[in-house]
């Protein structure tokens, strides 16, 4: 399991770097899907099969499809590739790289203090469900209200003005 974890983590990191440096937007999106699937494998090796499957269904399967859907309609051509290339070249990298390096150093410092990492145990689907609708039911309800608000506002924005029900 540990080998699988490191392998998937390696794939996720490489794929995510490719998302950033790739100038062709469709290829970048394919790398992003790959990265999300690698994260799903990471969840699985950490003993969370439900989270792994939901990562694959919701993020890789649904949200990325909508991204692709938008890209299809934007009709991006050679111009965007050149623009992208111009942005990626040179000094734009310095500040983000510095900030990321600080975070990485902090992360390594924190992780070096953790002792005795034991192999995680599997948490079944039922256990997750019982938790979600037991102690965390308030958070679930609040999240659903937020989603409902998003849904209604999206409907309102997309509705043509003056066009009532046909």
């Amino acid at each position: 399991m540990m080998l699988l974890f490191y392998l998937a983590a390696f794939v996720a990191v490489i794929a995510t770097v490719c998302v950033i440096v790739q100038t062709n937007i469709v290829h970048a999106l394919i790398y992003l899907i790959l990265s999300l699937l690698a994260v799903a494998v990471i969840f699985y090796t950490l003993g969370a099969p439900l989270a792994a499957m939901l990562e694959a269904i919701v993020y890789a399967g649904a949200i990325m499809v909508l991204f692709l859907f938008v890209i299809m309609m934007l009709n991006l051509g050679q111009n965007t590739r050149e623009q992208e290339r111009a942005w990626l070249a040179g000094r734009g990298w310095i500040l983000p790289a510095l900030l990321a390096a600080v975070l990485l150093a902090q992360l390594l410092y924190v992780l070096s203090g953790v002792e005795g990492m034991s192999a995680p145990e599997q948490v079944g689907v039922m256990a997750v469900g019982a938790r979600l609708f037991g102690p965390y039911v308030l958070a679930v309800e609040l999240a659903s209200i937020l989603l409902l608000a998003g849904l209604i506002s999206a409907y309102h924005l997309a509705r043509k003005p003056g066009a009532e029900d046909e």
Binding site: H27, L50, I57, G61, V65, L66, L68, M72, V125
Partner: protein, 319 residues
């Protein structure tokens, strides 16, 4: 090593071989059955009753020029047909064919199938997008909307079965059907799953992404040779997969009276559904695109939610 058990090498190899061979055979079966239902003969020249037509088709499709258009995005163009084959074949991993035959017993089997189905949408979308052709783009736009929408109802319609059996494991779902198949308590879930299944494998009458009378051949307009063949066989594999899933989820999988072995029961049940899907193709006209979408969101979604609600209430009430 050479004995049948869940996950053994023999089991995996035979499932892979049988499923792919079956998908290829279906090309001939479908054409013969369509011919029968439309009062004509269908392919009957090559071999007995035309059964070698499959071989002839295979030779043709393998030897055709495999052409990548110069205006296409080559990487994505080659990747797209592979995706559909991979995800559909991966889905067969969690299907329990008999007590002994199967690849894995996953505790999240149902979710795994749904995840693979949602990844299958990329094949059609990327194929159409990379072709750099307006008909292909129209086809893949339609495919994206159709597949994302029908995935939702497909998932919700399955949840009734999951509630009744108390498990996401497909093998356990079959085993809990020993005293009654789920088709009776879940007949609404079954109908929704059936419709969503046809829409997910985008076959007639829901083949709107490739409606040849409107948009050439939709997303695979630019494909030829074996790349087209992979889309083609992938579609038949999807048909076999949906039929197997219906058998497992609603019709008791391998369960049946003991005078026939389990694998025969499974094949019989799945075969009936494959034939039924072909009959649907012969009998039904294609709906318009907006009709398909509004039918899904305004009718199937509320119906599947009500079905889930009632199932949950009944299970809670009888606990």
């Amino acid at each position: 090593m050479f004995s049948f058990a869940v996950g053994s090498a023999l089991s995996i190899a035979s499932i892979l071989l049988v499923v792919v061979a079956l998908a290829a055979m279906l090309i001939w079966v479908e054409r013969r059955l369509l011919g029968f239902w439309q009062e004509r003969l269908g392919p009957n020249r090559v071999g007995w009753f035309g059964i070698l037509q499959v071989v002839a088709d295979m030779i043709k499709i393998f030897t055709k020029e495999d052409w990548v258009p110069p205006f296409a995005d080559k990487f994505t163009f080659v990747l797209a047909p592979a995706i559909i084959m991979i995800v559909v074949l991966m889905s067969f991993a969690v299907i329990p064919f008999t007590p002994e035959v199967g690849v894995i017993d996953s505790n999240v089997g149902v979710l795994f199938v749904l995840a693979m189905a949602s990844l299958g949408a990329y094949s059609v979308m990327l194929g159409g997008l990379s072709s750099n052709n307006k008909y292909a783009l129209l086809g893949s736009l339609r495919a994206a909307a159709q597949m994302v929408s029908y995935e939702v109802f497909m998932g919700i319609s399955l949840l009734g079965v999951v509630v009744l059996s108390g498990s996401f494991n497909l093998r356990e779902i079959v085993e809990t059907q020993a005293d009654g198949w789920y088709i009776l308590p879940q007949c609404i879930g079954f109908l929704i799953f059936l419709i969503a299944g046809v829409a997910e494998s985008h076959r007639l009458p829901f083949d709107i992404p490739e409606a040849e009378q409107e948009i050439c051949a939709g997303y695979h307009t630019e494909y030829s040779g074996m790349k087209f063949g992979m889309f083609f066989v992938g579609e038949y594999l999807g048909l076999v997969l949906i039929s197997s899933l219906i058998t497992v989820l609603f019709f008791g999988g391998w369960l049946g009276p003991a005078f026939l072995p389990p694998i025969v029961w499974f094949s019989l049940k799945a075969g009936v559904f494959i034939a039924f899907f072909i009959l649907m193709r012969a009998a039904l006209p294609r709906p318009r695109y907006d009709q398909l979408m509004s039918y899904g969101w305004l009718f199937l979604l509320p119906l599947s939610l009500v079905n889930l609600l009632i199932t949950g209430a009944v299970v809670l009430g009888t606990m």
